[in-house]
């Protein structure tokens, strides 16, 4: 059935997808809050830029990332020079590609969640003397939590399936940057349909679980 190589791929994919999700949750949640509540200059511009990876061809996003993080790219050369960190064709590039591609999903879900929080609740907390931070962490965030968690799961699932941007910035290096989707692709190219099918079943199972859990979280009513 599933052999050690498959497990390596599954483990790696789950690992990088988790890492990228952990990476984007704090910033994504904050940004979603600012978009939901704030009125500030450039808000619609930020909104559009954040949504771009969702609508742009993933390969195009990948190209931008490659140009940014490549050894001769603005960020890539800087990171390598300062910290000696290589990005392209390493697992870090996989994390970045996944993070960028799934960020809009998280922000959208979290934003809707924040918009649904009744501002009067926050108002009441304020009249009772709570500071803004306390209001956020004890009222707003808990009330929006369900939506944020659902968005996080969706973002995670999107990250798992990332292909177009990943193959450009991280390549498809067995044991190093090969994720589930890249691996399925290679197997099909090599004509090893049985192996591809094994991983296909695995990805369907993971996707099923992710969507099911996110639906479950969304539906559960906080009593």
């Amino acid at each position: 059935m599933i052999n050690p190589d498959d497990w390596q791929i599954i483990g790696f994919t789950l690992g990088v997808a988790t890492l990228s999700t952990v990476f984007i949750v704090p910033g994504g949640t904050m940004l979603a809050f600012l978009l939901a509540r704030g009125r500030w200059r450039g808000k619609s511009l930020v909104e559009t830029v954040v949504a771009l990876p969702l609508v742009m061809p993933p390969v195009a996003t990948g190209l931008i990332l490659l140009k940014l993080f490549g050894r001769r790219g603005v960020l890539g050369s800087w990171l390598e020079h300062l910290f000696g960190v290589e990005i392209v064709f390493t697992w870090r590039a996989v994390v970045i590609a996944m993070a960028v591609m799934s960020f809009p999903l998280l922000v959208r879900a979290a934003r809707v969640a924040f918009e649904e929080v009744n501002p009067r609740m926050e108002q009441i907390a304020r009249t009772l003397g709570a500071g803004e931070l306390r209001v956020f962490f004890t009222i707003t965030l808990p009330l929006a939590a369900r939506g944020i968690v659902a968005g996080t799961i969706l973002a995670f699932a999107r990250g798992l399936g990332e292909f177009g941007a990943t193959i450009l910035v991280a390549g498809n290096i067995p044991g190093k940057t090969t994720t589930l989707s890249l691996s399925i692709y290679s197997f099909v190219q090599l004509g090893q349909d049985t192996a591809a099918f094994r991983l296909l079943v695995v990805s369907v199972a993971i996707a099923f679980a992710a969507v099911w859990i996110s639906e479950y979280v969304m539906r559960r009513r906080t009593v």
Partner: protein
């Protein structure tokens, strides 16, 4: 009145979309190895002028193309960068029996970005720690990668350089990785290295030491333009085509 006019317009539009074989030049669909891209495009210009037929190309790694043809992709002619892919298709019976011809040969080179100070005395230098990543075609399927691997295995270097390998979709992607400076070195065909001014030869594998590289072409059985395909295959072996291939650095087989 308006509706009638709309219908007329619709009829015209539908007619315009219908293919009219007698008025149109035949399209010959050529599936060719990525390394042949520039040479074949140049040959196509002459060929189209000469015959009036149109060449439609699909350039990719021969392994990818072989797989597509096997799945029934509409190819008329397949021009592979190695014999193994052709053997596989022949065994599956998707090629026109007896149409297969080995036309070209090539050599391997190790390339580095033009501005890199590295000059390698031999392939042995790929082991050096300064070389962190080496791009080559996917070494199990893409011909350029299979050849490069065979060469490194013959030298007993494969296991040592293996962790540095960045496998690519096709040979041109290896070239691009070196051009962008994202890898320190790459192994490509000499003909690829020649078309790029962003890479330089670090080491040229002598033809006698490298693996035997062979580019066979054959007609595909399910072709919709068998006669035109045959004519094209003959042209690829003709003098004018050979001149172009040689200009790009290919070795034309006798």
């Amino acid at each position: 009145m308006k509706i009638a006019r709309f219908h007329k317009l619709l009829a015209v539009a539908v007619f315009a979309m219908l293919p009219v074989p007698s008025l149109r030049a035949t399209e010959i669909c050529v599936f060719a190895a990525a390394s042949l891209t520039d040479a074949l495009k140049e040959i196509a210009v002459d060929y189209e002028k000469k015959t009036g037929d149109k060449l439609q190309f699909n350039f990719a790694a021969s392994s990818v193309l072989a797989r597509q043809i096997e799945e029934g992709a509409p190819a008329d002619l397949f021009f592979s960068a190695d014999e193994a892919k052709m053997d596989a298709l022949e065994k599956k019976g998707v090629l026109v029996a007896g149409s297969r011809k080995s036309i070209l040969s090539n050599t391997l080179v190790i390339v580095v970005p033009t501005d890199a100070p590295l000059i390698l005395k031999s392939a042995q230098a790929l082991v050096a720690p300064e070389i962190k990543k080496i791009a080559l075609g996917e070494p199990n399927s893409v011909p350029a990668g299979v050849y490069a691997r065979a060469y490194l295995e013959k030298l007993g270097l494969w296991e040592q350089v293996r962790p540095k390998i960045v496998p690519t979709e096709n040979v041109r992607a290896s070239l691009a990785a070196v051009e962008s400076g994202n890898v320190e070195a790459g192994i490509v065909y000499k003909t690829d290295a020649l078309i790029s001014n962003k890479v330089k030869f670090a080491f040229e594998v002598p033809a006698a030491e490298g693996p035997a590289i062979s580019y066979p072409a054959a007609l595909v059985k399910d072709s919709k333009a068998p006669a035109q395909g045959k004519a094209l295959l003959e042209y690829l072996e003709s003098k004018p085509a050979s001149v172009v291939f040689e200009k790009f650095g290919f070795i034309v087989k006798p």
